[in-house]
Structure formats: C-alpha cells, structure tokens
Symmetry: C2
Subunit: 341 residues, 2 copies
C-alpha cells in the first residue's frame, strides 16, 4: 500500500488527473458541478493530500518560508518568531527556522539552502550589517525578502519592519540625564549593527546640549548576552573606582547582566547607579528591582514581517516600504522616580 497519488484518485472518480487537480486547487472553471462533487467525495473518503515536493517542482511554489534570526536563545527572538510563525501558519505557510548564531557565514549557507528549497519568501533578522551579497542572491532568484529588526546594507534597498531605535535610545538617555546623572555608560551591541548605530545616535542626540556629558559618555560593545553585560561591568569595576552613575544597555539581557554585576559589587540600584535596558522581555518585569527599559512591540514586529512577506509573495504593493514601529520607554524601578513635570 504505497501512498495514493492523483492518478489513483482520478481512477476512482472516473475522471482525469487534470480534473482532480482542478478540484484540488479550487479552480472555479473547468469542472462541472456534478463531476466536482464526485471528485470531492473521493477526496474526502480517501483523505488524499497532494505531495508538496511534486507541487513545488511543478509550480515553483513551496508554501514554506525561511526565517533567519541571530539567537533563538535570547528571549527577544522567540517572541518575534512566535508572531511570525502564527501569522504565516494561518495562511498555510510553514517555517524553516534558521538560527544563525550571530554568524554571517552561517547565514549565507542558510540562504543558499533556502534557495535550494525554493522557499516562497525570507524574513531576515540578519547577523551582519553591511554585507548583503547573499540577500542579493535571493533577489536574483526572485525570492521576496523582508528585513526585520535590523537593517542590512544601504537602508533603502530592502523592505522591512523595524523599531525606532533612535528615539527609543534618545528617550532612555534623556531620562538618565534629566535625573541628574553626569556620567553615562552605554553598553551598546556589536559596533556595526544598524541597531547599534541608531541607538548610539539617539544617545548622542540626548546629550548634545551638554558638552561635558558627551565627553564623559563611555561606550562599550557587548554581544547582547547576559554574560557580556556582566563582564563589561565587572571589568570596569575591577579596573578602578566607579566613574559612571548611569548605565544604558542596548538590550535587556545585557542590562540584567549589568544589574547582577552591580549587585555583587555592592552598588545600589537605582540609588547609586541607574540602569535602563532595551526590549522589554518578560524577565525585565520580574527581576528585583524591575527593570526600566525601552519596550519593543516584538510580537507585532513578527506579525508585521509576516504580513509584509505575504503581500510580496502575492505580488501586492506594499503600502509602506519600511514600517517603523515605536519603542516606548517604560519607567520601572532601576531608575529613580522623577518629579512630575
């Protein structure tokens, strides 16, 4: 008993393969009501389901899409993935999850594999920044791409959904400065990522009015992990007396790492040092003290990315080439209460 194929169904229904195919694909024309009914019956009786590979080979459509992310282990991404997966699944698409582990080489390999698999589209949260050869490969193959979370290459070249990193970072830095802090430590992400560039720009804009602030601004680059946040603070504290009174981290994991390091060093938060993160992952709410952070609509980004790739796949025009969602500062308890304005 080998698997049924469309010829078997055709035989049982007393029609041709072509007719079965038409019914299968709900083609409105080309099949009489009665015939259609007959085929439908056989279809449900047998529980027939067409083989995806055959379909893909014949049509070039796979009903699957590739999702590339840097690190599924960072709580930010599951949220993104979940949003995208749910939206795409509702439309009959399935997801190849590609965890690039922050490695552009691996990202490239994944892209080639996705091309081989004839995915209908790719949602890319890239591990890199400037280099976009592999993305151009997708374009060559006419596979739609939507960037998400991070820009790659020249800003305008690919559609995508992002967050307003500049404003988010600006608001965070502004709050820190308004609270009377004089020496800001900015734990940024890897130097060349678009997010890092944008968030740095936001921080600098917030300090621009005061030259002394700018001069005392200290920038360190981490890799978005808890450990890197902790290590950076530990190294600083070990190197000499503490010379910062506020920390802004480019993501919550690093902020949380910093928080831990400060606690172990006996530095009071927020009394002696204020801390702000970025992302608003679930953990940010439940640590003690709860983390002040710039909240991203992460799940919504995933959904928006899915919606965008679907439009592209269907050949519909994009209302906006680039969707930028707001990142809003949430004051919790790693910053001191400000007097109401």
């Amino acid at each position: 008993m080998s698997r049924l194929n469309i010829a078997d169904i055709a035989r049982r229904a007393g029609v041709s393969k072509a007719t079965v195919s038409r019914v299968l694909n709900n083609r409105p024309e080309g099949v009489g009501a009665e015939t259609r009914e007959r085929v439908r019956t056989v279809l449900t009786e047998t529980g027939f389901r067409p083989t995806a590979a055959a379909r893909c080979l014949s049509t070039g459509v796979s009903n699957s899409i590739g999702l590339l992310i840097p690190d599924i282990t960072n709580p930010f991404y599951p949220q993104l993935v979940s949003g995208a997966e749910e939206a795409l699944n509702a439309e009959g698409y399935h997801l190849f999850l590609c965890n690039t582990r922050g490695d552009v080489a691996r990202e490239r390999e994944y892209v080639e594999a996705l091309i081989d698999k004839r995915v209908d589209g790719v949602i890319l949260d890239s591990a890199g920044s400037a280099d976009d050869d592999h993305v151009n490969r997708l374009k060559q193959e006419r596979i739609p791409v939507v960037l998400i979370d991070r820009v790659i290459g020249r800003r305008s070249s690919y559609p995508g959904v992002f967050v307003d990193n500049e404003t988010g970072a600006h608001d965070a830095a502004r709050l820190l400065v308004a609270g009377g802090n004089r020496s800001l430590l900015f734990l940024n992400g890897p130097k060349d990522l678009s997010q890092s560039v944008e968030r740095l720009a936001g921080v600098e804009r917030a300090l621009r009015a005061d030259r002394a602030l700018i001069e005392r601004l200290r920038i360190l680059n981490g890799d978005f992990t808890l450990d890197s946040g902790a290590r950076l603070i530990e190294q600083l504290l070990a190197a000499g007396p503490r010379d910062f009174d506020a920390v802004f981290a480019a993501n919550d994991m690093m902020a949380l790492g910093a928080l831990g390091a400060l606690r172990r060093a006996g530095v009071a938060v927020p009394a002696e040092v204020e801390v702000i993160g970025f992302d608003d992952i679930e953990t940010a709410r439940i640590v003690e003290p709860p983390l002040t952070t710039v909240s991203q609509p992460t799940r919504a980004m995933g959904e928006a990315g899915a919606a965008m790739i679907l439009r592209l796949i269907r050949g519909q025009r994009l209302t906006r080439k680039s969707v930028v969602l707001a990142a809003v500062l949430i004051e919790r308890s790693t910053t001191r209460k400000r007097p109401p304005r």
Copy 2:
C-alpha cells in the same frame, strides 16, 4: 536566464545527466577520475545547486525534519530547539519549526503538513498526552519519530529522550520537607501530561513516610506560564489565611510567577515560604533571591533528540530506545540553607 539545471551542466561538461548526478552525489563508482574532475569544474564554475524539490520527488528524501514544541515563548524551549537545530544543521538538515501553542488539534494539522512535505523525521514535544493517532500516521508513512521532553501514549511505544522527572520532583519535595515544612503546595502542570504525572509521583514518594504531610499536600494545576503561577498564589492568598509554607512549581516560569505574587503579598521568601522550581532557565539564576530549582540538561536533550532521529533516519539501531537524563536539584536562595549532613 532561468535557473541552471542538471542538463545544462551535463551539456557544458560534455557528459550525460546521469554522470553529473553521480558526481553531485559523490557516488564512488561509475565515473572516471578525469570525467569527474571535468564535471566538478563546471559545477564549481557555475555554482550549481540542485533543486531540493526535484530531489525529494525522485528519492523521497527531503533533508528536512519537523520539530514540534508547545510554546517557543517559554524560555525552556528555545534551549531545546537550539540544541536540536544546531546538531541537525551540522548534518545538512533543516528544521520546520511548529509551535503548537499547547493545542493538540494544531499539532495534528502540523503533522499532516509535515507528512505532505515528506520530512525525513519528526521530533515531537507534544501538546497532549494520551492521544497519539497523529503519531501513528507518521508511523504509517514510515517517518521516524522521536519524542522529547514528554511521553505520549503508552510509555514504551515510541523512542525518545526525557528527563527523570520523578527523581527530580522527589528531590525537590524531599528538600522542602527536610527543611521542616509541614504544608506543601505543589503547582503542577496540566493534569494529564506525562511530566505532571511523573512529577506528582515524585512528590508523593517524598512525602510517603509521613501521612500528615500527604494529607496537607495541596495540588493546583497551572499551564506553565508566569501568569498562571502568579494567579494561583493570588487566588489562594485571597481566599483565606496562608496555609502553606513551601511551594514546589512544575516549572520555573510558574515558580517565578509565584515568587512575584508572594512578594507583592508581603510574604518573605525563603523565611516564611520556601519555593522551588523546575527547569533551571537562565532567569532562575538572576532573579532576587535566585531560584532554587531542579535543573534539566535542556540543550543536551535537544542534541540527544537530534542524534536519535538521525540514527533512525539512517536505519541504524538505537542503543537505548529511551534515553533518560538526570534532573538535578540546585539549591539557591529561595530555600533556606540546610545544615550540612
């Protein structure tokens, strides 16, 4: 310029498609060294890569596998996924991520879709317990299945990799009781999951010696989310005076939720109430006080699951049908220090 196919390569190399195919698949026989070299050259010059769907249709092998998990948003699963994905990717497999959102109906749909896609294997962290019709569908289609994290159906029927839930839960409950607690609150998972059954068995074994303990044991069922852990505690506290002095939660998220609820209610942990979780997610280490918990080798489970499905796919025998990894209790600070024995 349509995509190159194997016929184009054959033409350029002045050989037949069969020969190209043999080279492509590294078949040792059937191609002379010189010819092989010539074909190789054309292959690399053109950067030719075969279309996966054509291959799949012809061979029945897709080089992709399905991974089904209940909730990618729970920090336990990304770890599992990451371990499996990395191991599988190293062997040239790609992953369909299926986030079942705890819904068995959805799980079934995913399984059908995976069959259509002719995945070479399935790793299943099931949303359900008793019902395994869809798993039998996979068997019918001769697609190997490896259970992971949770058993489904009768224990022995499918191979898989699990953790020793009974011992883990026993050790946790034992510690709580040994600390002098008299009234244990067990925040278990959904009633019929294998994990819930096993962990409950562990808890009961730990209390068995003392009838009074058993009588005062209170069991509530949550859904593994932070909110459910918090809500359960809140409801209990709202309903009357606190009548428990220790909480064991079936996962860290619920334990963390409970911790938050206790804090908000002004109950001191561990002084008034001791709390233990299960999983040992990253957050468990960084909350204040750090959570005592039963640590699972989550990433290793993912890797072991991947290794197992690979053996099955390759038709190799399994050394053990069921791999059970140890879950070890990690004492941190939501339990009081015990005098050394």
